[in-house]
Symmetry: C2
Subunit: 258 residues, 2 copies
């Protein structure tokens, strides 16, 4: 037992010392949640922790990118790692898709979220410096129908349809005000041939994305569809009821949707 | 629409070009899943993608750390980032714990996994160079009862008990062969005062961790407990039935348990 304790001590001295040494400038003193170091040199390590927590669904309910991480997120999104992470996730999806087949009854379904899954809002969020959600400004951006498609996701979208899966697009965007520009935007970016575009109807206004999307998925299951896969950039796309046989989390450190 | 397409092109040219340029040596040609670059310089970026996929539960069913990432995982675990990530997760748990209270009926429960949640197997996996799971060797290691405790998790474990929560330790370790050394190991590392140690009994041998742990959690819920939080290093600790009001994923790029 003494050995165990001294082992723990030795192990933790190594882990903690290297941690502390690598911090250099030390952590800023701040109220919880506080998880980034003060020194610019070491922001990246703290922001990496934060980004991984976002992807692992440990960090929830955040309203903006932490101020010390704005530059980190911009670099992440535009200098290669986001593209690399996205490609890596697509490799995992492909490996899974290779193992499954669509039955002849046409009821094997896949669900894709739209914002930052099929269509990118990077230009918008970058222009807003990854600040707080601004419903009016976002609506204006979305209504222009100019969101760029995300090519690796388009590739998957097409491959699934080629294999006989029915693809459903499920978005929390308001159908009444953004329905037609969204379908035009999808079309212009190559997302066509899908089975149904499901957007938020008036009865679901104000409801969390997670509840709204669970209700929509239940509709599909009640219609007899088997949800074989589900792709989204938010955990609220991927949790709740009838999430599907397998879910894939597309990276997104820009914003959080409950 | 033309604008949208050219925007997409411009955006993707930036993302993809920086991605390709940053690859330098290019990707190795290999069968799927293949998600790391060949050149040593750029392994870190590919291994980071892989590690984030593990934490986000996008990469599943892997049997060993990808060969090009063994050095990366060792560095991650021992040079600061693991400790930093762990502290960040503990900050998130603390922020959540601050918002909840244990009722006077004594039925508010938390669940902790043991291996690489409460007790660290880093020394074992490092000695095995993060190779494939070796049941006999692991049993030998575990039976020595010398796994170091993980101090930030011990801190949480104690804080929760101080606040009146009942803490349950839920482990896939075999009760018959590892029960007594595990409870001694926990005790020697300071994990005491918990409500119950729940380990795998003969009837659950061979069952996946996810199914076994779901069954154990159902027992607790049937006894009237409310699972307020659940902490584990594997997604199989945190998914299935009755996972709890909130789950926290402790980082672990060393191994995968289905």
């Amino acid at each position: 037992m003494v050995m165990a304790s001294s082992q723990a001590l030795a192990l933790w001295v190594v882990i903690t010392l290297t941690h502390l040494l690598s911090l250099g400038g030390g952590f800023v003193s701040c109220a919880k949640p506080c998880f980034w170091p003060s020194s610019a040199t070491h922001d990246d390590a703290g922001c990496l922790s934060w980004r991984v927590m976002v992807e692992a669904n440990n960090a929830r309910g955040w309203r903006t990118v932490p101020a010390p991480c704005v530059g980190y997120v911009k670099t992440y999104m535009t200098r290669g790692q986001y593209g690399r992470d996205l490609d890596s996730v697509m490799e995992q999806v492909s490996a899974y898709v290779d193992q499954i087949a669509a039955a002849a009854d046409g009821l094997d379904a896949w669900i894709f979220d739209i914002d930052d899954t099929c269509l990118s809002n990077l230009l918008y969020y970058q222009a807003k410096r990854f600040g707080a959600y601004d419903p009016m400004a976002f609506k204006k951006w979305a209504s222009q129908g100019g969101c760029p498609g995300i090519p690796p996701v388009l590739g998957l979208f097409e491959a699934l349809q080629d294999k006989g899966f029915k693809v459903f697009l499920l978005s929390g965007r308001d159908e009444e005000t953004l329905g037609s520009c969204t379908s035009q935007n999808l079309e212009s970016e190559g997302f066509s041939g899908y089975e149904r575009l499901m957007m938020r109807t008036p009865e679901y206004r104000g409801q969390s994305s997670s509840l709204f999307k669970s209700a929509m998925r239940k509709q599909l299951v009640d219609e007899g569809y088997r949800i074989r896969g589900n792709v989204g950039d938010q955990w609220s796309d991927l949790q709740g009821d009838n999430v599907g046989d397998r879910v894939f989390k597309i990276p997104n450190p820009m914003y959080f949707v409950p």
